[in-house]
């Protein structure tokens, strides 16, 4: 009998996604689903979808879901978790969603130490609305609202969310990973696994920032996109664990995947 060596995770629905070719949202979905499967928590997991390209995540994950208002996923996740502490609750958010309109919600959710997990997909652009500048857009990177490239004099520098959240005193697990290569994805899954595990153990808030590509709005091919991520984003957004509930206030341990 043939043996299946690669199957769809139980926590992913049997549908195809609407993501563009080469977009790594789909890979990140799969990593999250594999972690949920491996921890055996699908039946008690509730996800929160953002407003952004992953707004339809509720169709892709095979568990109960809320679709939140733009930026408010951490508040919605707080409501769900406080109502039913036995659930495993995760929010899946883009960088416009989390780091711009939803900055207050993510900071205070983390600061209250809500026992939820946030998967933060940083693709350095607003994907869904057509490629406008995000708070995470790289200096000089062009976007539809900064066509000559991001000018740090007027737009400031890209926000490093993992570093920012890790400065909070409240115990948390905060890490940054990437999705641009198979090796990076293996590391990202490990970070996600730790994040969910801390939540399930009732330990702390957890956030994993995952660097992601947007070939469509970057105007690059999928292969060029992963290369651009590696060359441009990785040096500015170092990968690693920035904080654990066991460690000190902030213990950046940058490491190459």
């Amino acid at each position: 009998m043939p043996e299946a060596v690669f199957v769809r995770p139980d926590s992913l629905s049997d549908v195809s996604t609407h993501y563009c070719p080469g977009c790594t949202h789909g890979i990140i979905h799969r990593l999250v689903a594999e972690v949920i499967d491996e921890l055996g928590i699908r039946e008690r997991t509730v996800g929160v979808a953002p407003v952004g390209c992953s707004v339809l995540a509720y169709n892709y994950f095979d568990c109960d879901f809320h679709e939140a208002a733009h930026g408010r996923a951490p508040a919605v996740a707080t409501g769900i978790k406080r109502a039913r502490p036995d659930l495993a609750v995760f929010a899946y958010q883009g960088d416009g969603d989390l780091a711009s309109i939803g900055m207050a919600e993510i900071v205070h959710c983390a600061n209250r130490g809500e026992k939820v997990t946030v998967v933060f997909v940083n693709n350095a652009i607003y994907g869904m609305t057509g490629g406008q500048m995000a708070p995470t857009t790289m200096p000089g990177q062009s976007a539809t609202t900064c066509q000559m490239g991001r000018d740090v004099e007027t737009a400031g520098h890209p926000i490093r969310v993992a570093e920012l959240i890790s400065t909070l005193r409240t115990p948390a697990f905060v890490a940054r990973a990437s999705s641009h290569s198979p090796l990076a994805a293996v590391n990202a899954k490990e970070m996600l696994r730790r994040a969910f595990k801390y939540q399930v153990e009732g330990r702390c808030f957890s956030l994993v920032e995952v660097l992601s590509t947007c070939p469509t709005n970057w105007g690059l091919t999928p292969a060029e996109s992963t290369e651009w991520l590696e060359k441009t984003m990785l040096p500015y957004y170092p990968l690693g664990v920035f904080k654990t509930p066991d460690g000190d206030d902030r213990a950046p341990l940058p490491r190459k995947p």
Binding site: D64, A68, A69, R72, V76, T78, G79, R84, R112
Partner: protein, 362 residues
């Protein structure tokens, strides 16, 4: 339970607890701080949860999460805070979530002031936020009625799977009056189990998706049609009002709600002693508005007077209620100033004497 002297804000908080409200999310704003303060210590006593949110924006979205997970939830705020909640309330309506929102109205616009007002009438009844939706709006005139309506609000929210708003002015929050809670209180509606809630999916029911997004226009049209049917049912079944005074032979009929109606009632009693017959219709639901009742009583009265703590927002509904265009007289105080019985008496006498200027002409 015996009657207990309670401050309005505490009675509202206790009413929520009595109704089985399990979670409260809110952000401080005067003049309603005593509601979250009361619940911050009271809810944990009954195994509930109080969270001080970082903003009203966060509060309403926490409600969205907790209500979606199937629990009874409430927030309270005052005018500027309700404005901040607008987007979230629209999401709750779109996702058919039962949430209870208390607005202890203060004077605006902008930061305005902290004293009593009814200037959020339009906001509550017509323009709460974007999209085609309605919320039931309940307006108590006493502390007992506030306690009763808050409990009813939870049943109505669950029954219709829709936000319900309780509006009061600063007086409702601050006054002390005897209140009674009934131990054997039964829900005012038959409430089915919340099988739609996101409680973790064992694949034994349809997947719960708490959502207001419909990318297919035909689906979204149908969703709006379904919501409209629900609002039609509310308009048919949930109108509440009270009438007072000389209903069949009034010289003047007053339309007023909330604590203003109490002031008007004192005026009506004093006017009766002077031989002037006055009736009053007090809307208890501001939406749905008691159009029939106003039409009925107004048809038998010579003149119509609207009294409000706003520049006349309710006049629009009174106009809609009338059979034919008729002059409407109006009296208001603004900015946190209160209407006195003497002012109402003088106004009614001026109407009788023909010296009151109408604000709306036939």
């Amino acid at each position: 339970m015996a009657k207990k002297l309670m401050k309005g804000a505490e009675a509202i908080g206790e009413a929520a607890v009595q109704a089985g409200c399990h979670l409260f999310f809110g952000y401080p704003i005067t003049p309603q701080n005593e509601i979250p303060e009361y619940l911050s210590s009271r809810l944990p006593q009954v195994g509930g949860t109080f969270v001080q949110a970082e903003s009203e924006v966060a509060s309403i979205n926490m409600l969205y999460g907790a209500a979606g997970a199937g629990e009874r939830v409430m927030t309270s705020s005052s005018s500027p805070g309700i404005s901040l909640m607008a987007e979230g309330i629209s999401y709750c309506a779109g996702a058919k979530l039962p949430v209870v929102i208390v607005n202890i109205m203060r004077a605006g616009p902008g930061l305005g002031g902290i004293l009593p007002s009814q200037a959020d009438y339009f906001q509550a009844t017509k323009g709460l936020a974007h999209g085609d939706f309605r919320v039931l709006v309940l307006a108590p005139w006493s502390i007992q009625e506030a306690a009763d309506l808050v409990q009813d609000a939870f049943d109505l929210a669950d029954y219709y799977r829709n936000p319900v708003m309780v509006v009061g002015d600063g007086l409702i929050g601050q006054m002390m009056e005897p209140v009674e809670f009934y131990e054997d209180r039964q829900p005012i509606k038959e409430l089915p189990p919340k099988t739609w809630a996101s409680t973790g999916w064992k694949r034994d029911r349809p997947k719960a998706i708490i959502n207001s997004l419909f990318l297919d226009p035909a689906e979204l049209e149908q969703h709006n049609i379904d919501l409209k049917k629900k609002y039609d049912l509310m308009e048919r079944d949930e109108v509440r009002f009270a009438t007072y005074g000389a209903l069949d032979s009034a010289d003047v009929v007053i339309v007023a709600y909330g604590t203003v109606a109490r002031v008007c009632l004192s005026a009506i009693e004093a006017l009766e002693n002077d031989g002037i017959k006055v009736a009053m219709v007090r809307p208890i639901t501001l939406w749905p508005f008691p159009y029939e009742a106003v039409r009925e009583v107004a048809s038998k009265a010579k003149d119509i007077l609207v009294v409000e703590l706003s520049t006349g927002q309710m006049i629009e509904d009174v106009r809609l209620a009338l059979h034919r265009p008729r002059p409407i007289h109006f009296h208001c105080r603004l900015g946190g100033m209160l209407v006195s019985p003497e002012e109402v008496i003088d106004k009614v006498k001026a109407i009788k004497a023909g010296t009151s200027e109408e604000v709306h002409y036939a």
